[in-house]
Symmetry: C2
Subunit: 237 residues, 2 copies
């Protein structure tokens, strides 16, 4: 005689984040997806590591069905790979070749998008962008790793907001998608937060403030090229 739990009151354990009082109408599969996604982004599941369904059943206190569904979705997004009769595992670390391809893609898209953003920039959007850039405080104090993790997140928000102003949602989604893969790489080889990156962001903001599309394009191109050169040594070791 089994006594299944009522669905409406089941919540997945989200460490650090309190569950909302009102239950959002999200399926269990969706919550499982978020839980696994968070574990991947936090490197709690490192690249290439096995992901067994049984472990997740125990860890998340859900049956196999929503877990399989969530893993299928993660597979469709390329964050997880499946081998028949072996199981799921986190996607492998990005290769140098793929790293360079990503920066080629960014250089083809982001400078142009920055130019359009400058042409369409509003005062409200500029204020938001400045705020996002401002959060990346130069002040030390926190430990290096936590600080870089915060910088990586804020840098992503900054670039994403620019793409939002530029107005092409498809480009925005494409780069956001690639960024989720890239994020893991950045955290693995967490480079120091350089003052240069912050200077480059300010140069982009200055071009936006002047509504200078051409300067925005140049500043963005320079920023991405330098970002690439800063991270490239990670492959040399």
């Amino acid at each position: 005689m089994r006594s299944p739990k009522p669905h409406a009151t089941t919540h997945l354990p989200e460490p650090g984040e309190p569950a909302p009082a009102v239950h959002r109408a999200a399926s269990l599969a969706e919550e499982v997806y978020d839980a696994i996604f968070a574990r991947l982004m936090a490197l709690k599941i490192p690249p290439g590591a096995r992901i067994t369904v049984d472990n997740l059943v125990r860890e998340l206190a859900v049956s196999q069905t929503p877990i399989r569904e969530a893993l299928g979705r993660l597979e469709g997004e390329g964050l997880v790979v499946k081998t028949h009769l072996v199981g799921y595992s986190a996607a492998p670390q990005i290769t140098r070749r793929r790293f360079e391809e990503l920066y080629e893609l960014r250089l083809l898209l982001e400078p142009e998008m920055a130019g359009r953003a400058a042409a369409r920039m509003t005062d409200a959007a500029l204020a938001e962008l400045t705020a996002a850039a401002g959060v990346m405080s130069r002040s030390g104090g926190i430990d290096e790793r936590a600080r870089y993790s915060q910088f990586a997140r804020q840098d992503a928000v900054f670039h994403d907001q620019i793409l939002g102003v530029a107005g092409n949602e498809m480009v925005r989604e494409t780069l956001a998608h690639q960024h989720t893969h890239f994020h893991i790489f950045r955290l693995m080889f967490h480079a120091r937060v350089t003052e240069e990156a912050l200077d480059e962001h300010e140069a982009i903001l200055a071009a936006f403030a002047a509504r200078d599309a051409d300067a925005a394009r140049r500043a963005m191109r320079l920023h991405i090229e330098r970002s690439r050169d800063r991270l490239l040594p990670a492959f040399e070791q």
Copy 2:
């Protein structure tokens, strides 16, 4: 487009046909994925239509588990959307806005890629490209719809092969992914196969034959712009 995996040589049992006793190299979930993907691409499941798990259970003669897994993967790729306690449905038809964004994206990427392809072109690759373009025969005879369906497929192969020569796999995957969505749109409003498109392909080939990167860029840009203008009237009705 699905990730490259060793492909199964076996198929799902046709209705009435018993399942083979020998073990299949590919998981059932993978075969189910292919089956649903094919139904979406062939418009057998039109955009927005409901996709119930039970129907697929009956139609494909497998249990719910692999079907849920496959639907999850399709959801991750954006070809299918899920609503809690309502179920799955095929992704809605592309909007005009999204159509224009796609062509912006293509114009930012494909001309540049065509230029690189021209610089890296080999005789073997050129022969393959010419063959792919040649399959799109100008001869009539077949009925209009089947002919356009064939053209759409071959056009996709042509562009994809160019991206392969250009050498950036990430760009190639990105555009292939977007193309699966776009393909459905093209079939819904199957425009006539114009002789123009074939002429444009030949112009691109000529630039490749001359290893002229600049001409390839121009020809590709013109081809995409004209393709956009040919399809745009579909939104006017």
